[in-house]
């Protein structure tokens, strides 16, 4: 049985694609068969983050429209044996994605033995975002500790609870998790930024990961190397923890407190 996980947020630029890429890599590194699909039709970007942009020949829409087989469109990752990417199409045709087409591709992936299907949702609440979440079993809602991101996430939670196959069938609904990105413990401590607990309390959900703000995220996307693969980075460790929690392990939250200052710094520091 394949598990379909949508990575969504409502607001743009909060780290959906970075998160999709890292979660997919993390699961695949643990030996799972994983495919990550870009649902952002017209604005393909997952290929860049995954570092396979020059190997895209066929895309998601090509498969749906029968221009090629699913096998031809799946791009095999060069670093991790069990990881595949399905790129978004660059077409401007908004109706290129159909519910029936998406269902067919997801079914075929499941039948091919993929254990995890990660759906990288576009921003907004339009068709692409709707179809990315519609067939999901679980949702990772990416949120920045920032007022508009939190509000948009709540909007997305409303849609997950009503506009998904699981919600419509009434079989328990989509299991939802929060993943905070761009977290800055120093600014939280000084009262300038919403804390993990604030966000958790406002949205009423469990937190599956807290990724600290890190310059490594930009250098990772520059290099086309998902940040989780940068083993010396805090962001990588945070994503690794999130993957462990997705798999049901209990891991304490890291990177949520300011590094402790020594006595000297406490007396003479700010």
């Amino acid at each position: 049985m394949a598990e379909i996980i949508v990575v969504t947020s409502g607001k743009g630029g909060v780290g959906k694609t970075t998160t999709s890429a890292s979660i997919a890599c993390g699961l695949a590194r643990r030996g799972k068969r994983v495919v990550v699909i870009d649902f952002d039709i017209g604005l393909r970007n997952l290929d860049l983050i995954m570092g396979c942009e020059r190997r895209v020949v066929y895309d998601f829409v090509n498969v749906i429209q029968g221009d090629c087989s699913l096998k031809q469109a799946l791009i095999k990752d060069k670093r991790i044996e069990t990881l595949y990417v399905l790129a978004a199409s660059q077409t401007r045709d908004k109706d290129a994605l159909t519910s029936e087409g998406v269902r067919r591709v997801l079914d075929e992936l499941a039948n091919d033995g993929f254990e995890y299907i990660i759906c990288d949702s576009p921003a907004g609440i339009e068709k692409g975002a709707h179809l990315a979440m519609y067939f999901a079993d679980r949702a990772v809602v990416v949120v920045n500790p920032e007022i508009s991101s939190v509000r948009d996430s709540d909007r997305i939670l409303g849609l997950l609870a009503s506009k998904t196959a699981r919600a419509e069938k009434g079989n328990g609904g989509v299991k939802e998790h929060l993943l905070l990105t761009r977290y800055n413990p120093r600014r939280v401590a000084s009262g300038e930024m919403l804390s993990v607990d604030d966000v958790k309390e406002i949205l009423g959900l469990d937190v599956i990961g807290v990724v600290p703000e890190s310059p490594d995220v930009l250098s990772a996307s520059n290099a086309g190397l998902p940040v989780i693969l940068n083993d010396v980075s805090d962001a990588s460790h945070a994503y690794e923890d999130a993957v462990a929690r997705l798999l049901g392990e209990t891991v304490p939250l890291r990177f949520v407190a300011e590094p402790k200052k020594g006595l000297f710094a406490r007396i003479f520091g700010s």
Binding site: D154, G191, E192
Partner: protein, 86 residues
Amino acid sequence: MGLLSLFRKAPSSANLAKERLRIIVAQERSARGSPDFLPLLRRELLEVIRKYVNVDPSAVQITLGNDDGHEVLELSVFLPETQRSA
């Protein structure tokens, strides 16, 4: 005054964000389950009321509540105070 305010601690901006979010999220969540016609009903009522009294758009509030198993549509209109003599 100026000196005193130096010692008074202003609420942190994170707390401000949290309070604002708490209110707007609660408001949007309560609107989520309600029928789609409420915003339109509110707009049309506002138009009718405005024929007679010049009220502010925010002066009309409609809430759908539940009282002992009965659905209650509550409408409150705040009339401006200075309009009486007109």
